[in-house]
């Protein structure tokens, strides 16, 4: 889309874009370029600049079992939490869309979790799921050793998944509800008149019509599970126990700032960037197709 009427003095026009261009150059393109440079070089231990090592950094992290562990845990985390958050949100949104009494209350309240900072909700869930106090301790009284995120990797993973899903149920709910309400009421009524029940209408009308939203949320949830999980992991488990929750972003942070291995961290950043770019491209292609269909 283009404007028909524009202003002639294009020098002024460029000036309007300059602040943002300076910002994204300094804080986006330069660091991104720097990451590529670091990933291809190795810093010398006693100064003297970086030496070129080509793809050596990538080779060494790809040969590292800890790195593969962080990829698997990230994928497990992304898969389960996305599935959980989206399914719960879809069920709640579909039911809210039936507009029974009280549905306005749900529309207001179900969004609240998304406003909360990841570390704050992580601390809340750390207490709620603490093995010695709170509520899981109650379960531990009956089955001693049943629940201990500090020792059992699966329990720790379950805790961060629960905390993350809690936040993103609200987010997904907003989008699903908006998509469902965009479906013309007459379609639903016509289907009902033809004798189809609630489940049938969901399967044959609502679900197909909201597939674009489902794909959109799928991509957003996965990318957010890579980024927004940092605060949750840092507060709840700090990557442990035994690296069971050492997700990719957390590993980049701990390698880069605790281990001071800039080159290794940069190489990991590049791999994560490629992953996210690939996901984003999938998303944009899909959105383009949807615009086309309209």
């Amino acid at each position: 889309m283009e404007k028909r009427v524009t202003f002639g003095r294009w020098t002024i026009g460029i000036l309007f874009a300059v602040p943002q261009l300076i910002l994204i150059f300094t804080f986006f393109y330069w660091p991104a370029g720097q990451a590529v440079y670091w990933s291809l070089t190795l810093q010398q231990p006693w100064g003297g600049g970086n030496i070129w090592v080509g793809l050596e950094n990538f080779r060494s992290i790809l040969a590292n079992a800890d790195y593969w562990n962080s990829i698997t845990t990230s994928l497990v985390f992304a898969g389960i939490s996305t599935g959980l958050a989206m399914t719960i949100a879809l069920v709640l949104a579909t039911l809210t869309d039936r507009q029974l009494a009280g549905s306005r209350l749900y529309r207001v309240v179900l969004i609240w979790p998304y406003g909360i900072a990841a570390p704050a909700l992580a601390l809340a869930f750390r207490f709620i799921l603490a093995p010695e106090a709170g509520f899981m301790a109650f379960a531990n009284q009956f089955w001693p050793g049943f629940w201990d995120p500090g020792l059992d990797g699966a329990d720790a993973m379950a805790s961060i998944i629960l905390a993350f899903s809690w936040k993103y149920v609200g987010y997904n709910f907003i989008f699903f509800l908006a998509a469902l309400q965009a479906i013309p009421r007459s379609l639903i009524e016509a289907a009902a008149m033809d004798g189809s029940g609630v489940v049938r209408r969901f399967r044959d009308i609502q679900f197909p019509l909201i597939t674009p939203t489902i794909f959109f949320l799928l991509v957003i949830n996965i990318t957010e599970s890579f980024q927004d999980s940092f605060g949750i992991v840092d507060i709840m488990t700090a990557g442990g126990p035994a690296n069971a929750t050492n997700l990719m972003v957390y590993k980049i942070y701990s390698d880069g700032f605790r281990g001071l291995d800039y080159s290794g961290a940069a190489a990991q950043s590049i791999i994560l960037m490629l992953l996210i770019v690939a996901l984003t491209i999938v998303q944009f292609r899909f959105i383009e197709r949807r615009v086309h269909y309209r």
Binding site: K3, R4, F7, R9, W10, T11, G13, I14, A17, Q20, L21, I24, T26, F27, F28, P31, Q34, W38, I88, L95, T96, L100, G102, S103, V108, V109, L110, I111, W112, P113, G115, A117, P119, A120, L121, L123, A124, F127, A133, G134, F135, A137, F138, V169, G170, I174, F175, V198, T223, F226, Q227, F230, D234, I235, Y253, F257, A265, S269, I276, V277
Partner: protein
Amino acid sequence: MVERTPILNFFTHLILFAGFVFCIAPFVIVAIAASHNLKDVNDVPMSLLPGSDFFVNIKTAWTTADLGPKLFNSFVMAAGVAAGKVIISALTAFSIVYFRYPGRMLIFWLIFVTLMLPLEVRIVPTYAVVANVLSPYQAIMDVTGISWLIEKIFGVQVQLSLGLLNSYTGLIMPLIATATGTFLYRQFFLTVPDELTEAARMDGAGALRFFIDILLPLSRNNMAALGTIMFLWAWNQYLWPLLITTDQSHATAVTELKQLIPNVGGAPEWHIAMAGTLIVMLPPLIVVVLMQRWFVRGLIATEK
């Protein structure tokens, strides 16, 4: 509701209510835990009746984590990011939509690409840039030979250095350097009728006047939505403030929460931790509740 389905309606209410409890329960538990004393909060199971120490705990958490100045820092950061975004994105979108100049599409794509890579994944090099924000320019001058030229002519060695660690500028600027708001404005500007622009030009308004007197007042809704979203997003930032505020004086409330996690060896002071959590949760929650309309609108508009 299209037809009468009493059984289904019953289950609808049941499931929705379960979802409601699922969303509300953590808030309630945090609030109740924050009102207990040390013994009650560690009871198994914890009593769900509120205790009487609520204000004592809030006060303890407030002083332990030094939350007053930290909340102020959080507020400055969040407001700065929101304001910066609202202003800078409007300027850029205006430039992209209302002017024709060579390289316009290039600028469009340069900004568009920034949507793809969140700060978290390029965190290490961004940190290096903020440690000396002029280092990119220094490097460019070194490579292009300008520093060499200046040294030959004026006899001074060029050493550009400006550290932004532990400063509000350093906290805020990198968070503004993305494209989210720009496209929100762009979509809106494209819907503004051309006749309006024609009329303004006929009355003798230049680009600047049109922008300030006509376009900005029209975008008020967009500004509210974008501002709300960005405020919340910035308030909830964790990794970035954690890295660049090595000095306590610029730490934010969210990063300070870490101080409240009970130590393994120490007393399990969960009541204090939960009181602190409640304080940090409250401002964004208030924003969501009061600005619900803008929040939902901004969320849906900025992401698409």
